[in-house]
């Protein structure tokens, strides 16, 4: 990379390229000097890279804006071209509904106005276009209020630009600016308060969300405060001020008008379809951040609310644009161009992404990597902050959404595995004395389980040597539980004989008939399952690959034995019993058997809801992991099919094209005549004609073949979707059954029973405050006692209530995660499961998972 490029990329960074200088003015001068030297022969490259930088390094947009402004002073075409390019990009982003691009390009637009490259009136025009589109969307008659998320997004975009150019707009176009502000005000007065209880991480906040301001209202407040403060923001560098005298003489351009895509207007369809549309809009125009308040307010860095918003935006942008570039990601995260510290805010922002519902923008493991890298980049500051976040989340674990709990467990175990499994476990030793269903205890137990999977039992045992009490929570040392160890065991001889046959490489068919004759006919099928599963699992017990090999070879033997769902449930029971001390192997074995279609997902659901598992619901992740795997695998196969169909559709178009062309070529050749001896004869040689005909026929055959492949896949997808429907019906029915039996009855006045103690929530709030003092006297012995006391007080919850909370939490989590798959079947589900006198709390959990309003119940 030549030096002008490096300098352009690195402008504003504290880096060796600029000799470690921190003065922005100096950076811009140096960079501009080099760019201008190269300008003659690299004009286009410079323009292109500048735009790329603005798009992908949005926190440095002010610098890029000034650089464009400076070059514009010398070469007016350059500015004009940048403005035109920006227009194209913005229009394309709007049309393709690419939120991230729209947002960053709007900021660049504002900044170019500050550097006198774009006219302020053009910025106002863009604002007004978005504003009027937003106003139309939420209008019942002209628009479609289901698309409010899109309208909200447009308004957020306008508001987000103001910290970068509010001062300039007020100064230069005060009346127009006021018009925009009035427009936003009137939009805010019409729009509906958005409350997505579905996406709330802490369940206790559910009730609050109705009263609290939503994201747009909140941002509006910040902007109003900002305007009364004279638009002073610490977190936005304003380098153009240093160059104002020069820039003022630059030529500013108009941005051609833009247009927003029109969302489909609302037709008076059913509530379900309107709600479904609203759900899809929420996914398409997601709220970017849902703040997670982890730290008490005295811990988090002091800053203006708008600065907080801006730093969050910076961090989210770095996470977005530097995905896959570890080194740069960590270094930009750690060194944003703001004059205050923000480690706590950074931790809250990253954790808010790990816990983002329904899905984080990237897989949670990405954020795990970022945290690991930040702990290394800021060894003095960040690890302690992360530890503080963990403690705080641990204190509120019982209130955390079930899906988020799972993510937290996976993240934390992975994180510790990168830091030698060091954690001050003695702080949490007290959980041993809690009831086994206490959420904190379950959390510790599941973290240890995952640690053991990532490492090995003895190592993890050693890692908790400061808290030997917790050894009780370790999973059993993972050994298999083979039933036939001595000759007295019923089945020992049969199993041994079976093993010999496997060893003798007998075929699946031979073994099947042996099983039929020697076990089924004498001892019955149930016993046959026991012997076959115990023996095969034992043979395949050494590793994942051994298991796969056995299943590939003898899966048919099992499949023949277990043709119906009841037999499959028995089979899963046997797997679970063989691997009762190893949840991972149980889950893997069941997962693979489903993969080989030895067992159906319905059988897995049925097994998960068998009594012995139901009793585990609030105590262990084991049944849930198996259920999650089954649904996830089903979903993955559907997603694969959809992808394949997409590709095939493209191939069909391509093949059609080829076939038409080949046919045309043949026909053209065939009809080409020439006059020989006064008679018209064919001009082409017969050999070529024959060849062309062959091509045309082959192309047609190819087209038919691709079409048939597409039809076959379509049929497969239709079947898979039908199976999916039965899966969800069965899943929800099972949930409904177990919950109806256990949920407390609705009181006579129709009020929902309260599972969570109101006092409980209060005591948690107090904990949060205390946790900060706790941290300070880290080595204080009293802390543990105090903690223990508090905890016993907190788990006044009865076991049954905890079971209900946990199970309802999973109902919500599954509904939310697979909402797009559940929505199409909602009418069936309404009729078959959710109708009638279904328990309102169950209904509420499902509805809230699907983002349906519960008010209409």
């Amino acid at each position: 990379m030549s030096s002008w490029q490096t300098l352009l990329l690195r402008v504003g960074d504290k880096c060796p390229e600029y000799g470690g200088a921190v003065d922005y003015k100096e950076h811009i001068e140096t960079c501009y000097g080099v760019l201008w030297r190269e300008f003659e022969h690299s004009k286009d490259e410079i323009s292109e890279l500048l735009l790329q930088c603005a798009e992908q390094l949005p926190h440095k947009i002010p610098f890029y804006g000034v650089l464009v402004g400076m070059i514009n002073l010398e070469d007016e075409d350059f500015g004009k071209n940048i403005v035109d390019d920006l227009h194209c990009k913005l229009q394309e982003a709007l049309s393709s509904e690419n939120c991230d691009k729209i947002r960053t390009l709007m900021r660049f637009l504002t900044v170019l106005m500050c550097s006198k490259v774009i006219l302020p009136s053009s910025v106002i025009e863009v604002f007004e276009t978005l504003l009027s589109s937003a106003a139309t969307i939420i209008d019942e008659d002209a628009g479609n209020p289901s698309w409010q998320p899109c309208a909200d997004f447009y308004i957020t975009c306008i508001l987000s630009c103001l910290p970068w150019g509010g001062t300039e707009l007020i100064e230069q176009v005060p009346d127009e600016f006021d018009r925009v502000i009035v427009g936003i005000q009137s939009y805010l007065s019409i729009r509906k308060h958005s409350q997505d209880t579905s996406f709330i991480v802490f369940e206790a906040d559910e009730d609050k969300s109705a009263k609290e301001k939503d994201f747009v209202e909140d941002l509006w407040d910040h902007i109003q405060i900002l305007s009364t403060n004279g638009w002073k923001v610490d977190s936005v560098p304003r380098p153009h001020l240093s160059f104002e005298e020069q820039l003022v003489s630059g030529k500013s351009y108009n941005l051609s008008p833009i247009s927003c895509p029109k969302q489909s207007t609302s037709s008076s369809r059913s509530t379900i379809s309107r709600e479904r549309e609203n759900y899809e809009a929420k996914l398409k125009y997601p709220q970017r951040l849902r703040r997670l308040h982890i730290f008490p307010s005295n811990k988090i860095e002091k800053m203006q609310p708008i600065d907080r918003f801006i730093v969050e935006e910076y961090l989210l942008d770095v996470l977005l644009y530097f995905n896959g570039c570890r080194k740069e990601c960590a270094s930009y995260m750690a060194s944003l161009p703001v004059p205050f510290r923000y480690e706590y805010l950074m931790a809250e922002t990253i954790f808010s992404q790990i816990m983002f519902l329904p899905q984080p923008p990237f897989k949670p493991i990405y954020y795990a990597l970022v945290i690991i890298d930040l702990c290394k980049a800021l060894p003095g500051a960040f690890p302690a902050v992360v530890a503080g976040a963990v403690r705080s989340l641990f204190n509120r674990i019982g209130d955390l959404d079930m899906e988020c709990r799972t993510r937290l467990i996976l993240w934390f175990s992975h994180h510790l595995s990168n830091f030698q499994y060091f954690w001050p476990w003695e702080e949490w030793a007290h959980v041993k004395d809690l009831p086994i269903w206490a959420p904190q205890r379950v959390f510790v137990q599941e973290v240890l389980e995952r640690e053991v999977r990532l490492s090995y039992w003895d190592k993890i045992k050693q890692s908790i040597e400061n808290a030997p009490e917790l050894e009780e929570l370790l999973p059993p040392k993972s050994v298999s539980s083979f039933k036939y160890n001595s000759e007295e065991d019923h089945g020992y001889t049969l199993s041994k004989e079976f093993r010999e046959m496997v060893r003798g490489r007998k075929t699946a068919r031979e073994i099947t008939s042996w099983v039929e004759e020697n076990i089924i006919q004498i001892h019955g099928s149930k016993f046959a399952i026991e012997v076959v599963i115990q023996t095969l699992l034992d043979i395949g017990s050494k590793s994942f690959t051994h298991l796969i090999t056995v299943l590939e070879r003898y899966g048919q033997v099992i499949a023949k034995l277990c043709t119906d769902q009841n037999m499959q449930v028995l089979l899963i029971d046997e797997v679970s019993s063989y691997w009762k001390n190893n949840t991972q192997m149980t889950a893997i074995a069941i997962d693979r058997m489903m993969g080989y279609r030895i067992i159906s997902n319905l059988a897995i659901v049925s097994w998960v809801f068998s009594l012995s598992n139901i009793e585990q619901f609030h105590v262990s992740d084991r049944p849930w992991e198996i259920l999650r795997n089954a649904i996830n695998k089903t979903y993955n196969r559907i997603a694969d099919l959809r992808k394949e169909i997409q590709t095939l559709k493209k191939s069909v178009l391509l093949a059609e094209d080829v076939a038409v062309k080949a046919l045309k070529e043949f026909e053209a050749a065939e009809t080409r005549l020439e006059v020989v001896d006064g008679q018209p004869v064919q001009a082409e040689k017969p050999g070529r004609l024959k060849r062309l005909k062959g091509y045309a026929e082959k192309a047609k055959d190819d087209e038919i073949a691709v079409r048939e492949a597409l039809e076959a896949k379509d049929a497969l997808l239709a079947r898979a979707l039908e199976e999916n429907k039965s899966l969800f019906v069965s899943l929800y029915k099972s949930f409904a059954n177990v919950l109806t039996e256990r949920l407390p009855p609705v009181s006579a006045d129709g009020a929902f029973p309260k599972l969570r103690d109101e006092e409980d929530i209060d005591s948690m709030a107090i904990d949060l405050e205390e946790s900060s003092t706790m941290e300070m006297d880290h080595d204080n012995r009293r802390k543990d006692d105090r903690n223990g006391e508090k905890v016993t007080h907190r788990y006044s919850l009865k076991e049954q209530d905890q079971w209900c909370l946990c199970t309802l939490g999973y109902v919500k989590a599954f509904s939310r995660q697979y909402a797009t798959e559940v929505w199409p079947h909602l009418e069936t589900l309404e009729a078959e499961v959710f109708g009638g006198d279904i328990h309102p709390l169950f209904r509420k959990a499902v509805f809230s998972g699907l983002c349906r309003s519960t008010t209409e119940m």
Binding site: N418, S455, I539, F544, R553
Partner: protein, 250 residues
């Protein structure tokens, strides 16, 4: 995304010289592959550990452990096969350079597993890199193979006396069972391997003098003998029983 800082076209610095094709085809294979190569692993890391870590990037289709071609024991590399390309990319992006068994593992796109690629390509059976290493790496069998052989030949020349032997031991005597590495014969695809705690009488007595395998691993006592693998599932897959059975049948 992030095209500014990373040359995305450059997928892997490593070029497998056994790839049957030219550079262009090689890159094409890497660009569409759903297989990753994992390197710098501890010999002790199990498939289940790999499964737990790598399934966080997506659903896993298959895991193929790299094995020493003589001893049929893991020798520090592995292939993980995914169903989707996206998951494969995420494994490379998010897992490469992170720790597994306290070692920073390397994760790269791989052009695709083929039978035979599971074997180490070093002269001694393991990976080439373990031939010439001069450092002591307890997670990868102690010293490099060359150094180990050197130490062994020194030992043969000079009689140190029994006590001094513990400092330098010959390489782990895996594979002294006359090449009979399968167990049960049911799935002897060559991908089969023995767990590494098989000790012959010699090393078993050596082990018993120590405390636990784990502690000795942490101690500074540089012993070239790999320690007992604590991740071994003891019951239910007794190799010895298999061997006995086979003897009995003969």
């Amino acid at each position: 995304m992030a095209s500014l800082f990373k040359d995305l076209a450059k997928l892997s610095a490593y070029r497998d010289r056994r790839f049957p094709g030219n550079q262009e085809e090689y890159e094409g294979a890497l660009q569409t592959s759903t297989t990753v190569y994992v390197g710098n692993m501890s010999f002790y890391t199990t498939e289940e550990q790999m499964y737990e870590l790598f399934s966080r990037a997506g659903e896993i289709k298959k895991i193929i452990m790299g094995l020493d071609k003589n001893s049929k024991t893991p020798c520090g590399f592995c292939f993980v096969l995914y169903y989707s390309r996206e998951d494969t990319e995420d494994a490379v992006k998010y897992i490469s350079g992170t720790m597994l068994d306290d070692r920073p593992i390397r994760v790269d796109f791989d052009w695709g597993f083929e039978e035979g690629r599971q074997w180490g390509r070093g002269r001694s059976g393991g990976q080439v890199r373990d031939e010439y290493r001069t450092d002591y790496d307890p997670g990868r069998g102690g010293y490099g193979k060359l150094v180990q052989r050197e130490l062994e030949s020194q030992r043969e020349l000079v009689d140190y006396g029994a006590g001094a032997l513990s400092a330098f031991q010959p390489p782990m005597p895996y594979g002294r069972h006359g090449g009979d590495y399968g167990h049960g014969g049911s799935h002897r695809h060559g991908r089969d391997y023995r767990k590494r705690n098989r000790e012959d009488e010699h090393s078993a007595s050596e082990m018993s003098r120590r405390t636990s395998g784990y502690e000795s691993r942490r101690s500074s006592d540089h012993d070239s003998r790999p320690e007992k693998n604590p991740r071994f599932r003891e019951s239910g897959d007794s190799d010895d029983e298999d061997d006995d059975d086979q003897k009995r049948r003969r």
